[in-house]
């Protein structure tokens, strides 16, 4: 009797175990669906203390964005009349970069963004992926539409080739590695996807700003767009839809125009390959570095070690939590913003120019662009430029002045105080 109960008990137990095993196999260990995360930090920044009551807006913005841009698995290119969007956002390229990691029926790669980028830059391109918090500097948040290392001046979008260069070379001194070994079209696909996330993020910010002008408490409530309803009667939302389209069209045009905003650069008048000319350039560049016009040393430090003024970049300042008088984040607001997805404020130090580590590229042309155009989103300003034929007493750096500063900066890592102390060959054994 006992024996029978025991064995039927065991059988029931093993049955239960197999059912659990099958259930586990069926559900698998798949991660939850990838979703774009709303920009709650911008909502909080735009609505202030009232942000908790804006659920309707949050939902409407997500609906509008989903209708225009699709989802992380199924991206759309917004339909914009009169614009050739494919030049900026090619849907085939976006499909290659979007979605879960894998390949399609023709064995072409899929999900490149999630394979290579998302863990730092986040599914939404918010620069807050799972590994982001451990990095210094933080990964770029594309949603501000600002990029540091480019051939265009501040306020203009980078060119396709600018972003490609970053992917191929990586950014030395940061956690951004090189993706030089990816195929050319894979890199192209990722660049298109970065633009897509950036445009989507900026449209989202525009929508949030627009929503802040609407009153949900009014009767009837002023909503951005009721997507379900707008499909049937677009005329009721004509004004709002136009606003949304205008925002997207403006951004796509900006990206399209990037190429025509590139700063063309003529070579220096001095022949820098001539040792004497170079020595003269370095001497003059050094004078400018410590001069009142260029004023480089006030941030980069008296010895160019980057020990001058610290500050915050635009991405850290974005939530508007920096107190204007102290230039420090308002401590009381930090936990609230962190809970909404912001990262701990990180100070920005001016570059140590003695390391020979050039984040935006080590070619003289890259350094020329940094000085001439400044670095967007940071306190590094564009040089006061003195064009050819300007009045003699005008303050500013001429084209050749900038080249001389570049040459001085390029010589800094080779000065004896910049070089590491000679190292003994620790693993070299003496044999007699």
């Amino acid at each position: 009797m006992n024996m029978t109960t025991f064995s039927s008990g065991t059988r029931r137990l093993s049955l239960l175990a197999s059912v659990l095993c099958v259930a586990a196999l069926l559900t698998g260990c798949e991660s939850p669906d990838a979703r774009f995360r709303g920009n709650m930090v911008a909502i909080r920044a735009n609505f202030g203390d009232k942000y908790r009551t804006q659920d309707q807006h949050v939902k409407d913005i997500a609906d509008v964005l989903a209708a225009m841009f699709g989802t992380p698995d199924e991206p759309h290119v917004p339909k914009l009349p009169d614009l050739n969007t494919a030049e900026v956002l090619d849907i085939d390229k976006l499909r290659m970069a979007a979605g879960p990691v894998g390949s399609d029926e023709f064995d072409r790669p899929r999900g490149l963004y999630r394979q290579h980028c998302a863990h730092c830059h986040g599914i939404s391109g918010d620069g807050a992926g799972p590994t982001a918090a451990f990095l210094n500097p933080y990964p770029r948040d594309y949603r501000l539409g600002k990029f540091k290392f480019k051939s265009t001046p501040i306020g203009y979008k980078p060119t396709h080739d600018d972003l490609k260069k970053i992917l191929i070379d990586g950014i030395p001194g940061t956690a951004m590695p090189s993706f030089a070994l990816l195929d050319n079209d894979e890199i192209d696909a990722l660049v298109h996807y970065v633009k897509y996330l950036s445009i989507r993020g900026e449209v989202e910010r525009d929508l949030i700003r627009y929503a802040a002008t609407l009153d949900l408490e009014a009767e009837p409530p002023e909503r951005i767009v009721n997507v379900a309803y707008a499909k049937e009667k677009p005329s009721d939302f004509a004004e709002q839809l136009e606003e949304v389209q205008r925002s997207a069209a403006r951004l796509v045009t900006q990206w399209q125009n990037a190429r025509s905003n590139v700063m063309e650069v003529a070579p220096p008048s001095r022949d820098m390959n001539d040792p004497q000319a170079r020595v003269a350039a370095i001497r003059h560049g050094r004078e400018l570095f410590y001069g009142a016009v260029a004023n480089c040393f006030s941030c980069h430090g008296d010895t160019a070690l980057g020990d001058g003024k610290v500050s915050y970049d635009d991405w850290v300042k974005d939530p508007g939590w920096i107190d204007g008088s102290t230039n420090q984040p308002i401590a009381a607001q930090i936990p609230e913003f962190l809970a909404l997805g912001a990262l701990e404020p990180q100070v920005l130090r001016p570059r140590n120019l003695r390391l020979g580590m050039y984040r935006g590229g080590r070619r003289p042309i890259d350094m020329y662009w940094r000085i001439r155009n400044g670095i967007e989103g940071t306190p590094m300003p564009a040089a006061a430029f003195k064009p050819e034929g300007a009045p003699e007493d005008m303050k500013g750096l001429t084209h050749d002045d900038i080249w001389d500063v570049v040459e001085y900066l390029r010589s800094l890592p080779y000065e004896s105080i910049s070089l590491p102390a000679p190292q003994e060959l620790e693993n070299l054994r003496e044999r007699s």
Binding site: L181, S260, E264
Partner: protein, 282 residues
């Protein structure tokens, strides 16, 4: 049932040997899993050591597998009614199975010493020093062609250029070239690389050169090889260095001296770019 278990355990040596035979013969279903092509003049000795140890362990593996099978088959309880006999062991047998492996291990230790010295200690020399005798303490070791720095998750390559010095102070010879993940080397020449790490432990692995060197932060290591075939090959990281370890790979291009010099000059010129006209691309 007993015969079933003995046959099942016979599968261990059969499948184990089969895996190696199929892989070495490059036959489906394990084709393309044998050693990658050796393109290093000094790599053959590593391969012969590998094969020697493989044959040695292979013979012991097969013998052990067959002995286990034979005991299972011979003394299967269902067919073999005779009760088990217990013994206190055999002194002779124990001496044999202790001394034999010890002797083999000692033999391997001595046999590989020269290979180790050639790979890790006897760096190629530039000249034999004042005394004119190679292999003495005053030899001038060959200076590295490039410094390879491991960094999460890429290989930074820093060529010393024609002056063979890194970061030379003299401005007229500032000829260093900096590249990421692309290592070019000339064929049929001794190449010395200096290996360093910028952050954590990495391991610089050139499978086709039979070279693997752990990269320890704060230490300078040297590896050397002489490639005998042109082509592109893999550089991989062979030490778990973080979440992106699997994607820390580079490309090794072996090419003729002329092509290599032209390539290095091109890289240098691009690195010296001082003008930009829109439409020419980057």
């Amino acid at each position: 049932m007993g015969r079933f278990w003995s046959l099942l355990f016979l599968l261990v040596p059969v499948l184990g040997v089969g895996a190696f035979v199929f892989a070495a013969a490059d036959v489906w279903p394990i084709h393309g899993h044998w050693l990658p092509d050796n393109i290093n003049d000094h790599g053959g000795v590593i391969d012969s050591l590998f094969m020697f140890i493989l044959y040695l362990t292979g013979v012991i593996f097969i013998a052990t597998g067959i002995a286990l099978f034979w005991f299972l088959w011979r003394y299967d309880a269902a067919k073999h009614a005779e009760p088990a006999k217990f013994t206190h062991g055999s002194h002779t047998l124990e001496v044999v199975w202790s001394i034999l492996p010890a002797a083999i291990l000692l033999f391997i230790a001595i046999y590989q010493m020269n290979a180790w010295a050639d790979a890790k200690i006897r760096r190629p020399i530039e000249s034999s020093g004042p005394d004119g005798v190679a292999g003495t303490a005053d030899d001038v070791p060959q200076r590295p062609l490039a410094l390879v720095t491991g960094r999460q998750f890429e290989w930074q390559i820093h060529y010393s250029g024609p002056d063979k010095e890194f970061n030379s102070e003299d401005d007229t010879v500032r000829d260093d070239v900096f590249i990421v993940n692309e290592l070019h080397v000339p064929v049929h020449e001794e190449v010395v690389l200096q290996i360093e790490s910028q952050d954590v432990l990495h391991s610089f692995f050139l499978p086709n050169m039979r070279i693997k060197q752990d990269v320890v932060p704060g230490m300078k290591q040297f590896v050397w090889f002489r490639a005998n075939r042109e082509g592109t090959f893999d550089i991989v990281c062979a030490e778990l260095c973080g979440w992106g370890h699997y994607k820390m790979k580079g490309r090794l291009t072996v090419e003729s001296r002329e092509k290599f010099d032209r390539w290095l000059a091109q890289q240098y010129d691009e690195q010296q770019r001082r003008s930009f006209v829109a439409g020419t691309g980057e």
